[in-house]
């Protein structure tokens, strides 16, 4: 039997799926890799560990599910988290770790550029919000603050480009990942001269652009042998996690939005036009020519509920966060809709869309003497979802949203999905197994093979059954409270900044890293 393998290079690890040609999952495995925070605001990953983890997990999957049944792998398609930067020297060897999307080292540069006319024109051309996540700003930061690395760098790659270069020897970047670098003009699909100039590089220091269907060269012989794959196995460059999750949920054309809530979250729509926004709130990433995935990201998703669980959950079983979360959700379900008027601003990690305020902080608001612990639980979940709703509302200013789908580990908790349906007052569909990204990669590979004529046709075949129907009464309650939530999210602007500054001013320095242990 023929099969397609998808490799998802995610934020916390890799997920590999094997699909048959009908889109059924015939096997999947995951492998974790760590993110290092060696300094405040730094988030890095080890490119060699990502590569070895990729090989390891891929090999295990092949040996467990594919080779014993004599399945034939037709193609391997990649997806990856956006916004990573890895500098390599002239031999292709990494100069330090890869810098990931959550790295904030370029926050000062980002603030300056965002407020300038150049920032506005770069945003209009590239569709990527001016934010420290953007490789545009990371490269500019390396140029001015890590001069030695900048000088030695032959190319600035994305993590996916590096992994593909290891496997095939090609230096390529797909249109989707490229469109999230802040360096690509998404209207002409070529590197944007103003952005290159700001970053201080020319196009030869970037990998070559390739459409998402492109074959990224041939698997090197040693890997053909060690993995047991034929020379004719296609290596498809694929797309980004955001674009593929949108495709995987069957979103196409207008009228539909998809919500992803994992640790962080995003609300996305698809369309043939770019969403231009005076306030530069939205991203616009490229799936294929004239097909844009637009939307807004939030920093504060499931990670905030995890934070809450760690602080206030019951841990009868050590390290069993899932059970503790389950208990909290049961508690929350016993509290009336709207948490009896307790509101939560979830900005523990600052916020991106829609307020784009790195200084924003969390708050519980409206506390009265009757509120109990369980109200805090419900308010926390509602606050995270009000934030999602506020992104949805800002998108609705420009796009008509008739129906929704939800994916991601936090969003697909039934309690949360129902809340989303109620808040938006719209039916919500859910993918049962949480693999929208990989399913999107399968749709892409299947289209490349000719199983579908176009991606639109592929998206049409997606069936997400479980419809959560909105409850009108609940919606009315959420709508009432949301109006206060929305006001608070911007009203506290000055106080957010003031408290952030004080938090920094009075911060007790963290203990120096403990001395190296001698054995």
């Amino acid at each position: 039997m023929k099969c397609i393998i998808t490799i998802e290079l995610g934020t916390n690890g890799i997920r590999v799926f094997a699909f048959d040609l009908n889109g059924r999952v015939i096997g999947s495995l995951k492998g974790y890799y760590p993110t290092f925070h060696t300094e405040p605001d730094h988030s890095e990953q080890d490119p060699e560990q990502i590569f070895i983890t990729t090989l390891y997990v891929l090999k295990n999957l092949l040996n467990e599910c594919i080779h014993p049944k004599k399945h034939k792998v037709v193609s391997i398609c990649f997806s990856a988290a956006m916004h990573s930067v890895l500098a390599v020297d002239k031999n292709g060897n990494p100069l330090g770790n890869a810098i990931t999307w959550s790295d904030n080292r370029a926050k000062k540069e980002a603030l300056e550029l965002r407020q300038s006319a150049l920032g506005r024109s770069i945003y209009a051309a590239t569709g990527t919000p001016i934010h420290p996540m953007s490789p545009l700003l990371k490269i500019a930061w390396i140029r001015s603050l890590d001069k030695e690395r900048f000088k030695q760098t032959s190319k600035f790659l994305s993590i996916k480009s590096y992994i593909i270069h290891q496997l095939t020897g090609e230096y390529l970047i797909d249109h989707s990942i490229a469109s999230a670098t802040g360096l690509l003009n998404i209207h002409t699909i070529s590197w944007e001269p103003d952005a290159l100039q700001y970053a201080g590089i020319n196009a030869s220091r970037l990998p070559e652009l390739a459409p998402v269907f492109a074959q990224a060269g041939k698997l090197k012989r040693a890997y053909q042998q060690s993995l047991g794959l034929g020379a004719d196995t296609k290596i498809l460059i694929g797309s980004s996690d955001g674009c593929l999750a949108t495709l995987g949920d069957g979103v196409k054309g207008e009228g539909h939005a998809t919500i992803t809530i994992e640790d962080s979250g995003a609300v996305r729509v698809m369309g043939d036009a770019v969403l231009q926004d005076e306030q530069m709130r939205f991203f616009n990433y490229l799936l294929t020519e004239n097909s844009y995935v637009s939307g807004g990201p939030t920093n504060n998703g499931g990670n905030i509920f995890e934070w809450f669980t760690r602080q206030f959950g019951d841990f009868t079983n050590p390290f069993d966060a899932e059970q503790s979360m389950q208990q909290l959700i049961e508690e929350a379900s016993k509290v009336p809709v709207g948490a009896d008027g307790l509101l939560f601003l979830p900005y523990l990690l600052g916020e991106r869309a829609p307020i784009w305020n790195a200084n924003a902080r969390g708050a519980y608001f409206g506390l009265n003497i009757k509120h109990e612990r369980k109200h805090f639980v419900r308010a926390t979940i509602e606050g995270i979802l009000y934030e999602i709703y506020s992104i949805g509302r800002s998108l609705a200013e420009q796009r008509n949203i008739r129906s929704l789908s939800v994916n991601g580990s936090f969003g697909t908790i039934p309690f949360c999905t129902q809340l989303i349906a109620d808040m938006f007052n719209k039916p919500v569909r859910v993918r049962q197994q949480s693999h929208s990204v990989s399913y999107g990669a399968w749709l892409l590979s299947a289209t490349e093979m000719g199983i579908f004529k176009t991606l639109d046709e592929a998206a049409d075949t997606v069936e997400l059954p479980d419809v959560y129907k909105p409850n009108k009464k609940h919606h009315a309650v959420y709508a009432d409270y949301y109006s206060i939530f929305e006001k608070l999210s911007t009203k506290l602007f000055d106080e957010f900044e003031a408290i952030g500054n004080l938090q920094q001013k009075h911060a007790v320095p963290e203990a120096p890293p403990k001395q190296k242990i001698k054995l």
């Binding site: 060699e48 390891y56 890997y223 053909q224 060690s226 760690r310 841990f315 390290f319 966060a321």
Partner: protein
């Protein structure tokens, strides 16, 4: 509380316990100078504070100790107070003859009921501890009190009982230590710390027991949690880190393949080569040549 000091070789009470170098209790009514000088420690010393507040120095670092605190002093550590000052208060201690062996392992002796693997894991954990002070640890005080009662009581079975109590003390200290640093709520953070220790000590031949004990878990639960979190068994995760680090070293021309193998915890360059090739399809030397060549 009665003050006393029993010393190995001097006190008949300790004749049956060669692993007990010293057992004592001290009640100090007034500040004394030159009464508590800094000395280097042979074996493991365990102090428990009963009353008062003491400022002691371990390896030149000052610690303030309060009632209920335990201080664990590992072999080779200098220990005492500035100018030998002994503050007002009372404390009790044991001094165990547990030495660091030539291979760096710390093992309790034959008297212990711990299996060799568990004994080694405990020794390893004690030596990896980031802080020598364990707070709110009244149970340790109770165990020390029981040891003293048994030593003076000579009731039937006291020899076995004392050895059990010393084991108990070591076990409780280890558990307290891991609980203090891993409160059992945040597996990602715990796993991150484990990864850090593994990377810093990559050349060490880690066992699953050691890794599990490091985060304060039994091996079965540990293996299960690591597998569900990382997708790998603990040992495979470790191999993963080893190969990633090895790759980085192979890309630098100045380290020999044998050194890389040993630095990253492989038994031999042969073992390294086989594991590396199985995963990457290349022998380490081939891999190195491919990457050092200018393109």
């Amino acid at each position: 509380m009665n003050q006393f000091v029993l010393q190995h070789g001097k006190s008949p009470e300790l004749r049956l316990f060669p692993h007990l170098l010293e057992v004592g209790a001290k009640k100090n009514g007034s500040i004394q100078l030159h009464a508590f000088p800094s000395t280097a420690t042979e074996g493991i010393r365990i102090y428990y504070i009963i009353e008062g507040k003491f400022e002691w120095r371990l390896n030149h670092e000052a610690y303030v100790l309060y009632p209920g605190d335990v201080v664990l002093i590992m072999p080779g550590t200098s220990f005492g107070s500035d100018h030998g000052v002994l503050e007002i208060g009372s404390f009790t201690w044991v001094h165990l003859n547990i030495q660091k062996q030539e291979n760096g392992h710390i093992l309790p002796g034959k008297w212990s009921g711990l299996s060799e693997a568990e004994g080694a894991a405990i020794g390893k954990l004690l030596s990896l501890s980031s802080s020598p002070v364990l707070s709110h640890f009244q149970d340790a005080g109770k165990i020390l009190k029981s040891i003293q009662t048994e030593l003076f009581g000579h009731e039937i079975g006291y020899q076995a009982r004392i050895n059990h109590l010393i084991d108990e003390l070591l076990i409780q200290i280890t558990r307290h230590m891991t609980r203090q640093s891993h409160p059992g709520r945040d597996f990602p953070k715990t796993f991150m710390r484990l990864e850090e220790v593994l990377r810093e000590n990559l050349a060490h031949q880690w066992t699953v027991e050691e890794m599990a004990a490091l985060v304060g878990m039994g091996t079965t639960l540990f293996t299960e949690r690591v597998k569900s979190y990382s997708g790998f068994s603990p040992i495979n995760y470790l191999i993963n880190i080893r190969i990633s680090e090895a790759i980085k070293m192979l890309k630098r021309p100045d380290i020999s393949v044998t050194d890389i193998a040993l630095d990253t915890g492989f038994y031999s360059s042969q073992h390294f080569s086989t594991t590396f090739k199985k995963l990457t399809g290349y022998r380490p030397s081939e891999f190195r040549n491919n990457h050092l060549r200018n393109k």
